[in-house]
C-alpha cells in the first residue's frame, strides 16, 4: 500500500514513430486506477485545404527543457502517479501520430485534468513547428502568417 515513488517527468522529442502501447506500459502500476491518454494524428485537411503530409521540426534543446517543465507543473497541480509525453518530428503521413500524452492517477478526474493540461501547454509553449504540404503542391508554416 506504499505509494510508488514518483517517476521523473518524461518528455521526449522523437524522430521515430511514436509507440503508444510501449509508452502506456511504462505507466502501468499496481497503484493507479485511471489512465487518460491523448493522441494527435495528422489530419487530411486544415482550414479547407487538403493536406498530403506534414513536417514537424523543433528547437531540441529548448523543446526538451520546456516539455519537462510542463510535466513537472502537472505533477505540482494534479494528484497523478505518472505522466509521459512525446512529440514526433520529421515527415509524417496522414494518420501518423504527431503527439502522445498519457497520465495515470488513482482517480480519473486528476488523470483527465493533467492530460489536458499537458497537451494544451505543449501546443502553446514548446518550440515545435508544423509545415503542411498540400495536394496542390503548396506548403505553409502553420501560424506564421503575420507580416511585419
Amino acid at each position: 500500500m506504499t505509494p510508488p515513488s514518483q517517476p521523473p517527468p518524461s518528455f521526449a522529442i522523437s524522430a521515430e514513430p511514436l509507440q503508444p502501447e510501449a509508452l502506456k506500459q511504462q505507466l502501468l502500476d499496481g497503484h493507479a486506477g485511471a489512465l487518460a491518454t491523448f493522441e494527435g494524428w495528422v489530419r487530411n485537411h486544415n482550414e479547407g485545404q487538403a493536406v498530403e503530409r506534414l513536417e514537424y521540426s523543433s528547437y531540441p534543446a529548448l523543446a526538451n527543457k520546456e516539455g519537462q517543465r510542463i510535466l513537472a507543473e502537472a505533477f505540482q497541480k494534479f494528484a497523478i502517479d505518472a505522466a509521459i509525453a512525446q512529440h514526433r518530428v520529421g515527415l509524417l503521413e496522414i494518420g501518423g501520430i504527431a503527439v502522445w500524452v498519457g497520465v495515470s492517477a488513482a482517480h480519473r478526474g486528476a488523470a483527465f485534468d493533467a492530460c489536458r493540461y499537458i497537451i494544451e501547454e505543449i501546443k502553446g509553449r514548446v518550440p515545435i513547428w508544423k509545415k503542411e504540404y498540400y495536394s496542390d503542391g503548396a506548403t505553409d508554416w502553420v501560424n506564421c502568417h503575420q507580416e511585419t
Binding site: A61, I122, P127, W141, N143, C144, E147
Partner: protein, 81 residues
C-alpha cells in the same frame, strides 16, 4: 566593441534566411535590436510581436542585454500537437 553572436534559425526563419546557423559580429545591445537589424537585412516577415526569443537555450526578454558569445534563437509561433 562588437559582440560575437551565434544565431540559430528554425522553421519559417530558417527558410527565409536559407541556413540553420550563423555567427555574426554585432553591435546590437538587445535581442530586439539584433532582430530588427537581421529582419531588414534578410527580409524576415515575422514581427517581434509574433516571436519569442531564447538566449543560450532558454526563454529570455527581448530587452535583455546581449553578451559576447551568446547563442540567440528567434522563435516563430509554435504549432505542435
Amino acid at each position: 566593441m562588437p559582440k560575437k553572436l551565434t544565431i540559430q534559425y528554425f522553421a519559417l526563419l530558417r527558410e527565409q534566411r536559407g541556413l540553420d546557423q550563423e555567427t555574426v559580429q554585432s553591435d546590437a545591445a538587445t535581442a530586439a535590436s539584433l532582430y530588427a537589424d537581421l529582419a531588414q537585412e534578410h527580409g524576415f516577415t515575422l514581427p517581434t510581436t509574433a516571436l519569442k526569443v531564447a538566449l543560450n537555450d532558454d526563454f529570455a526578454d527581448w530587452q535583455s542585454p546581449l553578451s559576447d558569445g551568446d547563442t540567440v534563437v528567434f522563435i516563430p509561433p509554435v504549432a505542435g500537437g
